[in-house]
Symmetry: C2
Subunit: 240 residues, 2 copies
């Protein structure tokens, strides 16, 4: 993934491969979009096309959740939406705290995908005293001193770190000490956490750099016909 891997080969319990878990949100979104268009039944081929993966992978992924399809027919959209949502934990309400209300924190507080679908921004927290009390997207910004109190009162277990790099580890330590067990890290540093705490990293600069790597190769192969002759595997799936 692009984010950093949670170091656990198989998800606990029924044992869903991590690669499959990472695609469930994609399937969920595609299914919701199909449902909104009035589609009631979908084949693995169709759903795979909508999600931009191949159908064998989709079927294998769904088979890890259970046998929710009908041979010769396909999957019932409503039923599958529910099953995937339940598996992802979207049928419960997750209060989330966002630490760091800079440009990115601001954008995240307003981001639709964060506020809808199971998640709710319980509080915004920032170091900067000047911001305290300010309203962002209708939500007040609390000072960092209130962090532990907010986590306890709202039963927050998932936090978003959108602070500058140098303070991210300190913030993370406080989050974990206060009871947070899942962290989404936007700061450009690897966070150290104790066992049992999950971290996923979203690294905007890295993503651009990975694109630049491939872009450079493309441009090189235009200039040097020798390497340009190396066969490229076909791109059948949609990406992104």
């Amino acid at each position: 993934m692009s984010g950093s891997r949670v170091e656990r080969p198989l998800a606990r319990g029924r044992g869903i491969p991590e690669a499959t878990v990472a695609r469930l949100p994609l399937y969920h979104r595609s299914l919701v979009a199909l449902r909104e268009r009035g589609v009631t039944t979908v084949s693995s081929e169709e759903l795979a096309a909508a999600a931009g993966v191949n159908s064998a992978k989709l079927r294998k992924d769904l088979s890890h959740l259970g046998s929710y399809g009908t041979r010769g027919v396909g999957y019932d959209v409503d039923y599958l939406v529910y099953q995937v949502a339940r598996e992802l934990g979207l049928t419960q309400d997750w209060p989330v705290v966002i630490v760091g209300v800079g440009n990115l924190g601001h954008a995240l507080a307003n981001y639709g995908g964060f506020t809808s679908r199971g998640f709710r921004v319980a509080a915004l927290v920032d170091n900067d005293e000047a911001l305290a009390g300010e309203l962002v997207n209708g939500l007040p910004v609390y000072p960092l001193a209130k962090l532990e109190q907010i986590i306890a009162e709202h039963h927050v277990s998932i936090a978003v770190v959108a602070t500058p790099g140098p303070v991210a580890q300190d913030v993370c330590d406080r989050l974990v000490a206060a009871g947070v067990t899942s962290v989404l890290n936007f700061a450009p540093v690897p966070l150290q956490v104790p066992e049992g705490v999950d971290v996923r990293k979203v690294d905007l600069a890295s993503e651009l750099q990975i694109l630049a790597f491939h872009e450079q190769r493309k441009q090189m192969s235009l200039l040097t016909p020798l390497t340009a002759l190396a066969p490229l595997p076909p791109r059948t799936e949609a990406a992104g």
Copy 2:
């Protein structure tokens, strides 16, 4: 990735595995941080700790670039920074266009990691006529009609799509038609692109949902001692 995979098993040319490419930005950043702290030589063990990976993986990754270390000693920080930067294409200048100047586009335009280190925001583009001419982070916002002209004049090959989902595919098609061959997609839809064009997806909602999945499992195992007895593999690496 957390981001969607570029569908090419090995990078062109010398054949660097995609998983290795995805970690090079991490190593680059860790090396720069070490250099800033005055470190001149580093062992695979030390660098791996700084980057949050294990040392065997780091050595294998670096071995794909070449033999840049010294046995019994370690790696010269300056030299390795340069080699990794060169491999990533950071020694050249990449003009980037950002399409969509909503909350997220705004944040990205201001984001340090985007503007420094090889990348330069050549232009901001938005559909909204009201925004046209406005200055964001000192950069003017251009109307969508100017998209092709901007790409041609600035020789843009990398674009960032930060538009709402419904228009993302249209924008992407125009970008590709105008010559863009790498796209960083923040819109919550899979983009269809022709062969030879790379797309990476950053999906904030997905990342939260993946955390929620694991969080739900943790909470379930607290309630049901039976599954709580299932052994957890140790977490030795840092994540995020």
